[in-house]
Structures are given as C-alpha cells and as structure tokens.
Amino acid sequence: MGVHLGADKQTDLETAAGLVQPGSMVALGGGLSARLPMALVRQLIRDGIGDLHVVGSAHSIDVDLLVAAGSISVCEESYVGYEQDHGLAPAFRRAAQEGSIEVRESCCDTVLTQLRAAEMGLPFLPVHGVKGTGIESLHPEYRRVTCPFTGQIFVAVPPLAPDVALIHAPLGDRSGNLHLEQPYVLDERFATASAMVIATVDRIASTDEVQAAGIVIPFYRVAAIAEVPFGAHPSSCYPGYAYDRNHIGEWVESAATPSGAEDYLSRYVTGTDEAGYRSLLGAQRLERLGSYTESTAAWMEMFT
C-alpha cells in the first residue's frame, strides 16, 4: 500500500536492510526451501534488530535464524520447519517451548485473505474455515460475523498490512521492477499489502531484460533494491540455483543446541558479510548448485 516513485533505488544490502525498523511487522517472501530473502535476514541479524513480528505462509531457515538471533517476538507463519527433509526447526521449536517468542500460528489461506483485505482497503474479510479449531484461539483479533444474506456464521479476519516485505528475486532493475519464477507464493500480495518492499536480486539487469523475462512485482512497490549474488542461499532461486541441502543440514545439526546455533551465527552471519559468506562456502560449491540443469541425475544428486 505504499507507492515508491523514483528511477534509481539501487543501494547496498546494508542500506536496504537499514530501512527495517525494530518492532516492525515483516513479511518474508518465498517459502519453504525456495527464494527466501536470506541475505536480508542475515543483514538484519548483523544489525542486531529485535522485536520483529514476522508473517507469512510456510517457511524454514529464514525464520529459524531470526529466532536463533533473538530478532523475533511474534511469529505469525503457517509453518516453520524443514518437512521430512531435516525435520523440525530447532531454534524455532526451542523458543516456542521456552516461551521466548509468541507463536501466533496462522493458516496460509487466512494470511492470503488478510492480505487481500489490506489490498482492497476493507476492514475485514470472512474465511471459510478456522471456526472451531485451535488456530482461532490463538487470534483474539479474529471475530465471528453473521452473513447478512444467509445467516451463516464465519470467522472474520482483519487486514494484514506489513510494514515491510522482504523479497528476493533472481532478476530486477535499478528502479525496482522484479522478475520471479513461479511459484510466487504470497509475494505479489505482500508487495501490494505492505508499506514497502525491500528487494535483493541475484543480478541487476536493464529494464528491457526484466520486462522480457516478465515483471511480477512493479517498481512502484519497491523502496530499495540491492544486488546480492546467491542472496537466497541456502534456499533455492531457480533458474539460477537449487537449494543447498547440505548447508541447511549443517545449520539444523548445529542448532540442536543453543551454543551450536550461536557458533553457526558467528561463523556465517555476524562474523562476516555477504562476500565473506560466499567465500566461506566456496565458489565451487555455489557453482555446483547451478549444475542441476545438466541432467536428471545431476539434479537428483542435489538431494542425496
């Protein structure tokens, strides 16, 4: 719901991340193991930001790292974990059990509906389900309403208008036009419902090139854009790179204990910058993540 004019919004990662204020409601783009705004997440942790209220659908290491760093006070995602791949999210789980974060667990479709209410400028919208579930009890802001036409009772949900949406895309231009590959997950909705988008892209290109690829999020929603190669790592950003399964495994294993999580953060996040992060991983390893295109066997190799 913010309009951001201007032809040149390109800046560095530090300046872009600096637009996020402590206490903000932050929408995290992408989902599960794909296109997570990891460079921005790492920079927010380096900045020592706190008291964030994160919202979104199904997420993983982005939320888990922020929780481990103590950056989150409220988590309103529909899922945080690594599926049957690496299982439960260790830092998120620990914090939820200790009560150091408030888990206001939501449902993908509820989040979608709330974003639409914000986009449409409506004070509420009804959802089909939720009524009678435990999820309803986690949200005192929901209300029950009676349909004026049928008398049916629905759960009504208020608009969700994040202060900022953090989105990583493979390609964008200096003015902020972004090209994404499907699935876009909630990113289009986040872009319109939020006060601003802060974007990172693997590569800044000409407007012509981004237009030819297809603009999914238009420049006027984007307040700042920074070029960060492998900015979604260790999640995937197709067509450039598959996700780094072993690296996510390394995090999950480290984060089994609080001190292990701290060690990971100081090695890969707070003790370095993004160029240093890529050096730690090594060019060869990062290049390999793009080799999935060579053959089905090469792609399958990513998952073993």
Binding site: G129, K131, I135, I153, S236
Partner: protein, 267 residues
C-alpha cells in the same frame, strides 16, 4: 516379487485418488506425493493433480525431492497455478480429495500438527498446519494418513490442539459448524485402514502381518470393527514398479520407522 511396507502403503494411499477428480496434497507429504503420481500413471489418468507447494497442475516429475517447494516437482506440468488459485479452488469446494496427515489424530479425524501439549505452552512445538485449517473445512474428501500408529503416539483420544477439522470438534459437527466438505473418509496407517461411516473411525482393513490386538494396543480410543474386516489389497507388480519409478530417491521411506521398513511382503 518382494515389496516393502512403504510401497504397499503408498499404493493403498494411491487408491484414494479417483479418476476424473481434482486431488491436492500439501507440503511435507512424501507418501501422498508419490501416491498421487502413482495413481495418475495407473488407474486415474484423468485426475487433475495439484502439486503441494509448487501449485503445478499435472506435472510428470522424474523424481520426488525431499522438499516440496522445488522446481523438480513441476517438471512436465501443463500449468502453474498461483498460490491464490489453488487456495481459492480449494475453499470454493472444487477440490475432491486432499491428503492430510497429523502428529495426533482423534476418532473424529481431527488432526494436530501444531503442538504436543497444546498452545500457548507446547511440550513439543511442531511445524504447523500450512493451509489445512481452512481447506479441511471445504474439500470434499479428506484422506488421512500416518506412519506413527503406535501406543501413546498418533491415534489419540483427544488432540492436544485441533489444527485441521475432522468430523466433529468440541463445538459441534461439521454440519453444525456449517462446513460443506464431507470430512475424512479414510485413515491409512502402517497397521491398517479406518473408515468413518458415522463420522467416527472404524477399523476396516489390516495389513496382512498385523493383528487386531496390535491395532487396539496402538490406538488411544476404542473403535468399532467392520463386520467384513478385510486385508489391504496387495499391490500389483505394475503398481510396485510405478512407486519405484516415481520415487527413485525413496523420499517416501523418510516417513517410516526403520522397523517398519523391514516389513516385507511377497507377490
């Protein structure tokens, strides 16, 4: 031909996919993912498959990866839906079948994937429910599964938290709550299959190496037994081959305990 429990189990799940139906699975669902593709490549060629987190329509992947938001799962898809399209279609009631699992499942088919011990003070915080809280209300048929049917585990007298709606919550039945979908129709476990003739779980079939007493000991609620209690139909050679073809990485096996993966059958 020898086959293992995971293959048997996936084939039984695949049987829940009707031909010329719309079927959907969520993320974190390896067995259901494999089952959908096995069905599409055998008895349900006209089914409309909507792939979990990719929202890909009728993909033909070469393999199933262990994470569901991966482009490997949209290979060969005729179309990729937007997130909005998949959810709108589900809550509008246009999806016939959805696969849903639970860390806890009660006799009414309510599922808990949020927290053991309940909220806001969980004993074990699980990942969460994704989109199930809304779409379990509206999808015509829910096909439930678990691979954790053991004493004190998945099948419980009462869910610590209800993430997804079954046939009845403490607030009332689906009809009383105004939910249009028909709710859970079957629950497939590594021991056997339940149906829900009156909105409550009834033991319908057993895997051939399982005794009724084992099911009783492993279930946290009393359940009726169908008068024609049967054995889960063995898979065909073709179905077993399809499971192996669809899932060469064996991601389905991640859902099972090692002891259950040792269970082997003969055709």
């Amino acid at each position: 031909m020898r086959f293992s429990l995971d293959e048997y189990f996936v084939v039984e799940l695949a049987r829940a996919v009707g031909d010329a139906e719309v079927t959907f699975h969520g993320f974190a669902s390896p067995c259901a993912t494999v089952a959908m593709h096995v069905a599409k490549r055998s008895h349900a060629p006209s089914a409309l498959l909507i792939e979990g987190a990719m929202y890909a329509v009728n993909p033909y992947p070469d393999f199933i990866p262990p994470t569901s938001n991966d482009h490997a799962l949209k290979q060969g898809a005729v179309y990729s839906m937007r997130f909005e399209e998949a959810f709108d279609m589900s809550v509008r009631g246009e999806v016939d079948n959805m696969f849903l699992s639970g860390v806890q499942i009660d006799r009414y088919g309510n599922t808990n994937v949020t927290a053991i011990g309940g909220m806001p003070t969980p004993k074990v915080k699980m990942g969460g429910g994704g989109g199930g809280c809304n779409i379990s209300a509206t999808i015509e048929r829910l096909t439930l599964w678990t691979t954790n049917h053991r004493p004190g585990r998945c099948l419980v007298d009462k869910c610590d938290f209800i993430t997804d709606i079954g046939h009845r919550t403490p607030e009332g039945t689906r009809a009383e709550l105004g939910y249009p979908g028909s709710g859970p129709q079957i629950l497939i476990t590594e021991l056997g299959v339940f149906d829900f003739p009156d909105g409550e779980a009834r033991l319908r079939k057993l895997f051939p190496d399982v005794a009724v007493d084992t099911v009783k000991e492993s279930t946290g609620f009393d359940f009726p037994i169908a008068s024609d209690l049967g054995v889960v139909e063995a898979p065909s050679r073709r179905q077993i081959e399809l499971v192996r073809q669809v899932d060469p990485l064996g991601v389905r096996r991640r859902e099972f305990r090692p002891a259950d993966l040792q269970r082997s059958f003969h055709l």
